[in-house]
Symmetry: D2
């Protein structure tokens, strides 16, 4: 086990901060890593809360000045877990300071910001500084297997992609306004928060990009009680109300470069669906289906088999052959939500040590941002929009 340290500074300590902390904590215990991640410092806005979070999450130090971490020699990676409106500033500054960057998705709140970030990443790469976007679902073993099967040609020519990200956490009109419903903070609603994930995941699986979209955005509940405190997903409702300035749901059709047709839907109003990131792919030789609510399973139909015994196979993606799985438990002992973050940390650490660019790159993140912008454009114009 190596003792070469790789110092991490994390900015933000809410939901994503907890997930990323678990990743840094656990990665070196299950995976052979060329360098050893060290949880050096946590940056937040409030000193007391940040100090408490650092202690609970296991960070050696804490600060309320995120810029200060860029000057520290014991920090090699800046891990950005803040809301989207701050990503561009922090990421660009960190890259220019020579720090590797892991940036939560959506990469930015606008294409302009994303362009700036991608350019900064490009300049930094010349100096051996790495940048990666946190599309963590790529690191779910079942989706890694999905990509492998497509890349091996097991699906043949791809005809259809059906992608949905269904949640229901604000279906109650009395659920309070959180920063996630505020366009200034969050950039968009379901579109950027969860739609971005299915855009990335389907492009990742297909090894293809979306070229054209036609969509619509809707806000079912335009006014909500103000939250008395802005804390993550929840908060207590007050008597006053305020406007919801983002979309509750986003639906769009898409054409991929290869000619495949896609149907996309991201919503926070699918009652009873808690985190149903669902993807189906149909090709000339076979099909795939995935639902994150059963995350250790990939369904695969092999269309080349004898029809008498063909059917969608429920592959339990817990075999040592499957992506990332060999480091964990025996077959049948499933993984959970946060394991994808651990895999993400592992891939980033290895890329840094090997001097290669980790994926998804900031250019990949920018491309996703362009898709989201095209959906917004299409929703305004009522026509198809090029990406």
């Amino acid at each position: 086990m190596t003792t070469t340290p790789l110092g991490i500074a994390m900015i933000g300590h809410a939901f994503m901060g907890a997930a990323h902390s678990q990743a840094w904590r656990v990665a070196p215990r299950f995976f052979d890593l060329p360098v050893h991640p060290v949880m050096s410092v946590l940056a937040g806005r409030d000193a007391d809360r940040t100090r408490a979070a650092a202690e609970r999450l296991g960070w050696a130090d804490s600060t309320t000045d995120w810029k200060s971490v860029l000057d520290r020699d014991d920090v090699h990676v800046v891990d950005i877990c803040t809301p989207g409106d701050t990503h561009a500033e922090i990421a660009v500054a960190a890259l220019e300071a020579g720090k590797h960057v892991l940036c939560e998705k959506p990469m930015a709140n606008s294409v302009d910001e994303a362009v700036a970030m991608a350019e900064a990443a490009s300049r930094a790469a010349e100096r051996g500084v790495r940048a990666m976007v946190g599309f963590s679902y790529r690191r779910v073993p079942a989706l890694g297997l999905a990509r492998d099967l497509v890349a091996q040609g097991r699906l043949g020519r791809i005809h259809h992609v059906r992608a949905q990200y269904l949640q229901d956490w604000i279906v109650d009109p009395a659920a309070p306004l959180s920063w996630r419903l505020d366009k200034d903070k969050a950039g968009s609603g379901a579109l950027g928060d969860i739609g971005a994930h299915i855009v990335d995941a389907t492009q990742f699986i297909l090894g293809d990009t979306i070229s054209e979209v036609m969509g619509t955005l809707v806000t079912f509940v335009p006014e909500r009680p103000l939250a008395t405190s802005h804390s993550g997903l929840s908060g207590t409702a007050s008597d006053e109300t305020g406007p919801v300035t983002v979309d509750d749901a986003a639906l769009f059709l898409a054409r991929f470069g290869s000619g495949a047709l896609g149907s996309f839907e991201a919503t926070r109003f699918a009652n009873g669906r808690k985190n149903a990131l669902r993807i189906e792919v149909n090709g000339s030789a076979g099909s795939l289906a995935f639902d994150f609510e059963d995350m250790n399973v990939l369904e695969f139909f092999d269309g080349t088999e004898d029809p008498a015994v063909s059917g969608f196979r429920r592959i339990l993606v817990t075999e040592p052959q499957h992506p990332y799985v060999g480091a964990w438990w025996p077959a049948g002992h499933g993984l959970g939500y946060e394991h994808a973050f651990t895999h993400q940390a592992v891939d980033l650490v290895r890329a840094i040590a090997e001097g290669t660019d980790p994926t998804p790159t900031f250019a990949d993140g920018l491309q996703v941002q362009r898709v989201l912008a095209a959906v917004e454009g299409s929703a305004s114009s009522g026509t198809w929009q090029q990406v």
Copy 2:
């Protein structure tokens, strides 16, 4: 058991003819009917094949002149099971001759034809002559239950409809041209053949209509081997090829009158999906999910329950309380595909006897036709289209 006969003439004896024959044969054996359907005469194009079909299917007589059945006193109902290009002529003539009409879907190959049919039905209704479109899936008990739950308010305000009709029978590019791939015969491809079903089924479940659509049509395999014989779904391939003049897949977004958002997809290229008519509905109070490949089940999420014990319930729709089920077997003894046709026959016979208009009416069929035409229009224009 009544002995008042209700004479049926059926036109066409392929796939749908077999299903309708089973319906007429079986309906009076399980359901109490006010009049007794009699399988009087079968009309087809080829005398020998029609006679053989009549014998096999149990029709008392056969003819190659469909118009002759309109003159027969022992014929009270004309059941139209031919390809769509003949529906309008036959239906209008039958209605004018005072015969009740059951017409397979899609009702017609164009809006103009459908208008003529709806007008003929309207005139006929004044004389007590009934007309019904064969959207048989409405008569699957699980979809009847779905409609009931929505009507009872168990789903609250409807936000989302997700409807797919997925088949794969021409995913092989070597599958031959059949009349279903010929625009002149079939009117359209996946859109009219199976897309029509999910348009009708979702409107039926919601008690609402689609007001606006935006969609696209695609033909993945534009040229196919000519079939040496045109027989139903299959046929033998020859060396020559011909153009596919209909869509292989149709995708569209939809807005319902109530504000609900719909996502629709009909395709014959979903490898491994054999007859996956799938519908999900999400409302403010609950959700529903259905897949015809598990046709005796309706999933229902009751969003008003204690979250600790709430979840999608797999309702086995085989209880005596469920629509149509009481006439059949004890709980847990599921029904099959053709039972919906029997239920359709039962509902038509009862409406005729009671002197009421059976649903879906020809006006309903026309409205579905307008939705399909709007999808085609939208696919051409690249913009949203009013229905």
Copy 3:
């Protein structure tokens, strides 16, 4: 289509009578049969009710004297759908009268009766008279496919069989006594009624027989309200109660001739399970799983495949290659409960016409009866019992 008639007399017209009538009615409409079944006469106990049933079910004649049908020249087959206590007398008399016999399961209420029936069948066979037991689940296409896969060696050496038949129709202690809870009429409870089905089905799938059992029987509710009328599964409860003289549930372990281990459970107290006939088979090369509540599906695990893509396949048993399916609908258009009875009628008619013995034979039925008796013996003695 043949016009050589094969006259059928059916004895009994409750639940099973309705299912068998549908079989005789429908079989010649979908299958090419060498002779044409004719629904000649229905025998019952009450003249009015039998006449009404005959009319409703489509039998040409009716009688209250079942023995009279044995003298009729237009009767070639006697189809026994009465409670088990009458099977032996009717079947033996019919066979001796030279009539082919289809006898509902369980074949008899005791081994002695079953021996007499098997001997009568053996004597009759010498004269070309056929006898068959109505283990209809053998004719569910998915179970036919299961047997084929085992016979082809796709499962290798069989290690485990897990068979359950779970219902819940008397879980309510207020459900009234019916003839099915009366040992004199029914012979046994869950054991003979539904346990017999899983004994036959597993032996059929494996092509093997049970050699030894160890089990227990239990009656959870020993006293129930008397039914005011004995009609099939239901009836109205009265204030008086009477004893339940059969088992509510039967559990047993079994050893097959080949060394496979079996675990069997038949119960009417599995709340929420309506007709869950479930069978799993595990072999050295693969596994199978079936649940009648999803009757058009067989799950198959091929253990010889690459573990990276292996998993239980959900085979939709609706392909033309599958047993019986080619006669019905296109792929994906599932069958229902009663189709198995149609297949049973088809197989019997063909065996009669071809002069071969239909299976399951009365010898097979006797063997099942011996297994049931061994379970009862074991439940009394508390030890393993040879079959």
Copy 4:
């Protein structure tokens, strides 16, 4: 966050050692604990391998002398992760030395050993020293919810328990002998290794104990290649073979104290089932079903509901109300295999701090051992055996 340390010594560092290390590492990061677990020292047999494991797993120190940890003041808890033949010696010594003990299951290899351990635990409890058996599946949230529902009376009187633990890791006859197939090391095979889990889990869910059993044990492959190295579950096969001295599969029927009937099966030969711990419970008011291969789900049937809308609900056990879940992620973000070990550590730490006895106690472990012994006795005698 507390800083009062609770020093842990872990004995053994194979599969279970990795799982327990993750528990100690992660527990204080997600749960508020009254004392702070410290990973003080790891004991193993080989110095180099133990030192490497300690470094990788994050233990501060290592030793090859497990007895030495009993003398250390910085050790408060001894966590026993070795094969079963060593449990009794280590546990008794640790308890006598005043160390709290967490002992992996099965608690011991014989009832005699288990009695000694339970007695030692009883004596230790008087001095405030705690002992707990590692039946980790109790800490899967879905099984905690199952127990809660039974305790709340939502299932009514329990009639049936159906418990299976199905694996397939030695279905290949060429899989080498490991210590788990050696009676001297492992005590028994499937019975003790995985059968113990379903005995504990069902008794836990029911709040009841098994009073009587009747079963059989079988060894399908009695001779296997010797492993060239004994490492965990795998190892390389050599040319020599040796005898398998434990059961490959164990099946038994059981009667619970309350009168419920159980059917149990533990096997390593269920091809395609990787870690299918499956439990169904049927009661007069409802039913439950669980499968560890879909571990974040509990199916619940509420038999008191309107039959028109009742069905097994797929409860996604990821709500903040569910046992342990509130400490982790938002709804729909599932947990994995090792989370149960974290919950186990949390419960133990809290019990120690609060001065209460953690469950399952060593008395509970002894009772499970008695059930296993009764199964072995029954398998020998061929009769029912009292526990």
